[in-house]
Symmetry: C2
Subunit: 564 residues, 2 copies
Amino acid sequence: MKLAEYLFQRLHELGIESIHGVPGDYNLELLDYVEPAGLLWVGNTNELNAAYAADGYARIKGIGALITTFGVGELSAVNAIAGAYTERAPVVHIVGIPARESHEKRLLIHHTFNDGEYRRFAEIHSRITVAQARLWDIRTTQQQIDDILLRCLLHSRPVYIEIPTDLVALTIIPDDGMKPLEIPKAVYDPSWESVLDQITVRIHSAKQPIIIVDGETRPMGIIQGVQKLLEITRWPVWTTPFGKGLLDETAPNFHGIYQGTFAQTEVNEFFNRADLILCFGPHWSSRPDVSIVFTDEAVEFNNKKHRNIPAAYIVSHLVHSLNLSPAQQYEPYPSLPHDFKLPVPDPSDNQPLVQDRLWPVLANILRPGDIILGETGTAGYGVRAMPLPKHTRVFTPVTWLSIGYMLPASQGAALAQRELIRSHKYFGLSSGRAILIIGDGSFQMTVQELSTIIRHNLNIMVILINNDGYTIERCIHGRRQKYNDIARWRYLQAPSFFGADPDTYVGSVKTFGELGSILTDNRFIDGSGLRMVELFVGREDAPTGPLLHYLQIQKEGESAGDNV
Amino acid sequence: MKLAEYLFQRLHELGIESIHGVPGDYNLELLDYVEPAGLLWVGNTNELNAAYAADGYARIKGIGALITTFGVGELSAVNAIAGAYTERAPVVHIVGIPARESHEKRLLIHHTFNDGEYRRFAEIHSRITVAQARLWDIRTTQQQIDDILLRCLLHSRPVYIEIPTDLVALTIIPDDGMKPLEIPKAVYDPSWESVLDQITVRIHSAKQPIIIVDGETRPMGIIQGVQKLLEITRWPVWTTPFGKGLLDETAPNFHGIYQGTFAQTEVNEFFNRADLILCFGPHWSSRPDVSIVFTDEAVEFNNKKHRNIPAAYIVSHLVHSLNLSPAQQYEPYPSLPHDFKLPVPDPSDNQPLVQDRLWPVLANILRPGDIILGETGTAGYGVRAMPLPKHTRVFTPVTWLSIGYMLPASQGAALAQRELIRSHKYFGLSSGRAILIIGDGSFQMTVQELSTIIRHNLNIMVILINNDGYTIERCIHGRRQKYNDIARWRYLQAPSFFGADPDTYVGSVKTFGELGSILTDNRFIDGSGLRMVELFVGREDAPTGPLLHYLQIQKEGESAGDNV
């Protein structure tokens, strides 16, 4: 078995069916083994986009991979790999590097700094990946590959593998007959029981408990457990933006994303009176006095971090043993707001689009199985208030907030979705769509990946929010500054330019009536492949919340005489 | 004077009139000061492209700058900054970072890894820049800025400046009344004379001397001296690919790029008999036995490196003192080949385009003052054999070879060219064009920067070589592998999609007759702003030389039964 065959077989075992990336002369030999291993080579237009796409794929399938070339290729992917690290997407970044002799002789070859220093690129990746492996001695490569793939899964973070060209086709004899890769389990310790007991006491004594679910429940592997806990307790639950779309949001005790200072008054009053907050994931840190916070390395409460006890153990135990009285289950259930839809507008409705009405209207198109991607910008805020059908997944700005991410991520996510559907692992559903909602500034960053979407005929609806520039930046600072302007493109020509069928569906929307027509047009909502609509929205319009708040502060500063 | 004002005034003094980059919330305050300082804000579509463009600008104007935002912005620029480091483009990378308090408190804010570690991005940049400055204490910022800008100029390599948002508008009182920045000169040492004497002896005793000029003559600041030396000696001169376009290539002793093993037999015989090779720049390393190699830190001959003596000193001395006899000046001049043009084809010429004929035909459109950019790929090889008018500059693959570089670089170079023309510093010329020749695979990588070219109405002719994929990779390995295919775009729709005037010139060329018509069409060759033609060339066609050689090796392997 050749080294490349071993690597790709391992990736395949873990659920990877497609590999993203860009060819380059130090990875071509490696690429010869991709399709023979039963893997699809995606072939992205550039490496940043390839890494974003692999991240999107990983968030849906549990792991993703990309292949780039030494120096010029891998460095273009740095920003995306850093984002995957931050937001915990398990991406395997494989880099084809020069033959070992070139390194040893410090040859002055292309794609180096021409100074014989070959290690700088790996040093850079050591800052943005959770583990690195330089395959060098064929006798250790199997162990290195197995170890690093497990690290990728365990931490749900990117890893980095360097493969010299002269190692690709060397023969290895797998030990253990290729025993399946499994994440090592924590070893039970009797001290866990005391922690569990303290938590159980806190739960039983709570008068006004609530639950917060963060996106890190996914890498922690406890989504199903938490879902059951919500059903058992019937306690009011909110998510962080990162947690949006991970739970059954049709449940009566689900109240959407907690908006902090921008939440409704009755929500904040309820939060402030809470005497227990079960918080799954680390992205919410207010009210530590009453919180029990579950992270992947500790459970924290009463100012104490209990390390080593897995959240999954506690959640599973609670699910099986918790016995709450009706009083502890909020009977009667308190009056708390839910996210809502607004009716699909009548075609005669001439109101120009405004964001506060836009999002509850757009929510009508969502179906079970959809993947909704709301790019950083007004879209990222807008999708937060959409009520979701079951089995949906949402991509929304979390921490990294790199504009340009969502378009390639939609390529990876839609490809992963299609693979899951084809192998009957997608909630019993036989179809699924990805819905990318993205501002014009973000769209420009990585636009060429539309061609990969077209090339692989992925089922993606693109909803472009054209507000003539970086509205998110205008809201934060410099609302009238030219640096927040962008070039004006003819956006709806994109499908044609990037090679789509001439009859690809495109639409343009300025009023709610036009939006209503498009939201009921089967060519748009039931089509396959790429289709695209452009929504024209005001330059200084945003969903009510932080962006409009910052904008208001700017305007008040202006009338007080500040510089704009 | 505010810190931002000081920085931008310094950049302006050094010749920077435009700043590339992308806005982001940690640099918006900084951007408020760009236009008031008399600088144009370019506003690129993404950071990789912005850095490529700043590199192109720097190569024409002597220094360039870009502004990005913390994390997400600066990391997207990494590949381009590494390329500028490798190929010695002096680029000032300015990054707006969070306020100092955020770092000190390790706040978990967006654009971080959410772990309180703020220094990783700067660590990454320390691998790819020649100097770094983190502005932090207002009392030292002036000195830090002055020092790092000098380092940028001295090494002709990128530098990295971090500016916290809370420092931007603080007041500084410049010492020295802002004394002009000047690169420190080397201090004369009497030991230099012995080196100079040895070189002079070698020159006078040479029977068959030749000269090689590399692109590092530009950062070494000796182009004019070397040019004079060529005129005085009348010795045969070749350049490396990096040196193409730096000299007056109309001189009778100029013989184009030395092609190494792919050079004509008579050239290689002449090289092999040479008993002295004056080599300006480090990118040519054959025949050290007879070479005197000038680099920016040493002069090397007889297996000895003489450090600290500046190449400029030696060159200047030779120019003023060298006195050669007619015999030492090749009278009669040897018979050596020159690059040549082929006639512009008649419109009736139905031969499909082939690369060996294409490049000598394309050479007819070149004019004094043109900047020719031949992207990595067949174009990069093709432009190497073009005879050049005076005052042209050529961008061609050197060491970094990052495909996607040339399109944004053409934006930066054309902008720099326009600024030089407008300030009457461009060889006395009142107009100039940039001619971008680029393959389809490269074009896809960074295509959106066409919109910046359109937005700023830059005078750029785009000649797209459509050979249906990565032909350079096909030649190297996997000529029939699908991974070297790319999506098929409708390339000529690009100007319209990216917002150009509907009457922007576009043309499509399959035969030499069609090429002839376009090369004599004033709308193409005399137009202003963007115009674009698409040339259809065979998938496995390349200029005679290394690419076709590699392809031939593959084909021989196939007929011998190897895997393809």
